[in-house]
Structure formats: structure tokens, C-alpha cells
């Protein structure tokens, strides 16, 4: 029930952004549409978690986001260096690696997996419980995991266990 109410609130703000029309007709239609979505997919945004936990996670993500953006800039520059290098094959040493992550919650693990995909030279292949398989483009990228990113995610998303 609480999840449905929270979904309704989120959907209503999204509707305000989408619609941009605030006359009575469109506003009432918006409320009806948000109610429909909340009834049909109310449990989906919160996947059985308490609402407060999800809200805390969202704020943690906001704190983590600037660093991620910077990491993506670095990784794109690295890709640019490899791609534009005339002998690029010498720079590459592809390998698959596997390691265990210390993160506990599902959301934190998925955030970690997505961040790995977005940061230099690595792509997440699979995630099973706490085991991650990662495809790395270079040896140094493979050795840098889990590294600083995991600590940052742990601090942002799971502060009580850090």
C-alpha cells in the first residue's frame, strides 16, 4: 500500500514534467493515469523494499553520480587513446576475470555492475549473487577491480555497513 502511494507521488511529478498543462481537464486525466500506473505496477519501483530504503538509495546515487560522470569521461578518453593509436593491437590484452564483491544489497550490486560497464576498459558479463564476471580490455583495467569504485558505492548506498 505504501509502495503504491509512493509510486503515485513519483508518477504525479513525472506527469507534471511530461504534460506541462495544468488546466482542470488535463490535471484530472493525469491523476487518473497515475492511479492506473500505481495500481498496475505499484510494487515494481520498490521490489519489496521499504520505501525509506529506496529513498535513501536515491540520495546516495545523487552523491555518487558526479564521480561516476568523471570516471566515464576518463574511460572515454582512454577508449579514444586506444582507438586513435596507430598500433592499437599492442595496447590491448583482453581477458575475462571473476571476483567477489563485498556489497550486500541488490541495488548496490547492480549499480556497481553498471558502473563497471561504464568505466575504463571493463564490461560486466554476469552477476550471480556476489560473484561478478568481468571482461577487461587491458591488464591494468583488470587489476584495478574492485578498487575504489566499490568503496565509493559502499559509502554512498550502504553507509551503515561501511
Amino acid at each position: 500500500m505504501k509502495a503504491k502511494l509512493a509510486t503515485f507521488a513519483v508518477m504525479l511529478s513525472f506527469w507534471a514534467i511530461l504534460s506541462g498543462m495544468f488546466d482542470a481537464f488535463h490535471l484530472s486525466l493525469g491523476v487518473i493515469c497515475c492511479l492506473l500506473v500505481a495500481l498496475f505496477s505499484g510494487e515494481m519501483l520498490f521490489e519489496g523494499l521499504r520505501v525509506e530504503v529506496r529513498v535513501k538509495q536515491i540520495f546516495g546515487m545523487l552523491a555518487y553520480f558526479p564521480w561516476l560522470l568523471w570516471a566515464i569521461v576518463l574511460s572515454s578518453l582512454q577508449v579514444a587513446y586506444i582507438v586513435l593509436h596507430p598500433q592499437m593491437l599492442d595496447k590491448m590484452e583482453p581477458q575475462l576475470i571473476r571476483f567477489k564483491t563485498k556489497l550486500k544489497s541488490n541495488f548496490a550490486r547492480v549499480t556497481f555492475a553498471q558502473s563497471i560497464t561504464l568505466t575504463p576498459g571493463t564490461i560486466t558479463v554476469s552477476l550471480q549473487d556476489d560473484e561478478m564476471t568481468v571482461y577487461a580490455l587491458t591488464r591494468s583495467a583488470a587489476e584495478s577491480l574492485p578498487g575504489e569504485m566499490e568503496r565509493r558505492i559502499a559509502r554512498a548506498l550502504e553507509p551503515e555497513e561501511a
Binding site: 508518477m11 575475462l96 541488490n106 547492480v110 558479463v125 552477476l127 560473484e131
Partner: protein, 159 residues
């Protein structure tokens, strides 16, 4: 720890946690966007058909991530059929109602005889009602076409 390709292949789990979590976060927003496209049909490009496609695609995305049986628990087969028929009924019902009230087929101004507001605004309201019907029909028919094609008509595990 470095592993071989074969080992990585053996370790791919049945359920894809990354895909599932992302899809969970996306589906409500896609659904609301589909409803928005249906409702704002006469201000933006779109309308019943396009909004219905986006709505149907959200259920298809759910089915792709969680598997076909889960999507049938989310939107049951009987609900799907009922909604599809209601959508078609709304469309033809309004069109026939116009004809019965003395106008042409889909001539919305004839509806002013039921509820006396001026015929021009009945035009926009009539189009809106018809588009809701079209949207319902398109959504549910898209979902059921996906179910049939993904499982070769058996409606079991599917893709």
C-alpha cells in the same frame, strides 16, 4: 581471478539480476509515458495507436526481462482479452452511437444530443474517447501477438 571463456559461459545465471533491476525501474515510467501520449493525442504527435504501442512495449519489456510466465501473472490472459474487446467496443460503440443519433458514422457533433455542450468541444472529447479505445486495443493486441510469437503459439516458457 582470471578465468577461461568456457568457465564464464558455464557461470551465466538463469535470472539476469542487472536486467531485472533496471527494467523494474523503467517500466512504470514507460507506462506513464504511453498514457501521456494517448491523452495528449491532439497536442503532440501521437494518439491512441502510438501510445498503445509504447504501453504494449512496456509489458513486452517486462516479459523479456522476467520471462513469459511472469508477464502472464502481471497481465493475465483473460484481462488481456477483455481489455482488447472493450477497446474495440468503445471505438465502434461511439461511432455507431453517432450514427444512431442522426449524424454520420464517427460524426461527433451528433453526440451533443446526449450531453448538451457545444458540438466543437464534443469533437475533441469524441476523438479523445475513440483514442482511449484504440489505445486499449493496440496495447493488448500487441502483448498477445508477442506472447504467441515468442512461444510459437504454446504460451509456455517462450523466449
Amino acid at each position: 581471478m582470471r578465468i577461461s571463456l568456457q568457465e564464464a559461459r558455464d557461470r551465466i545465471p538463469q535470472r539476469d539480476t542487472i536486467l531485472e533491476t533496471t527494467v523494474r525501474l523503467m517500466v512504470p515510467f514507460i507506462q506513464l509515458y504511453g498514457l501521456y501520449v494517448i491523452v495528449h493525442g491532439h497536442y503532440s504527435p501521437g494518439g491512441g495507436f502510438q501510445g498503445g504501442v509504447v504501453l504494449g512495449a512496456s509489458v513486452i519489456l517486462f516479459a523479456l526481462a522476467f520471462g513469459l510466465p511472469a508477464s502472464k501473472r502481471y497481465l493475465s490472459e483473460s484481462t488481456d482479452i477483455i481489455l482488447a474487446n472493450t477497446g474495440a467496443l468503445i471505438y465502434t460503440g461511439i461511432a455507431t452511437l453517432c450514427a444512431l443519433l442522426g449524424g454520420m458514422f464517427l460524426d461527433y457533433s451528433a453526440l451533443a444530443k446526449i450531453l448538451p455542450i457545444d458540438p466543437i468541444s464534443w469533437h475533441s472529447h469524441g476523438i479523445f474517447l475513440v483514442e482511449v479505445g484504440v489505445g486499449m486495443g493496440v496495447t493488448t493486441i500487441m502483448v498477445s501477438i508477442y506472447w504467441d510469437m515468442a512461444s510459437a503459439g504454446r504460451l509456455d516458457e517462450g523466449l
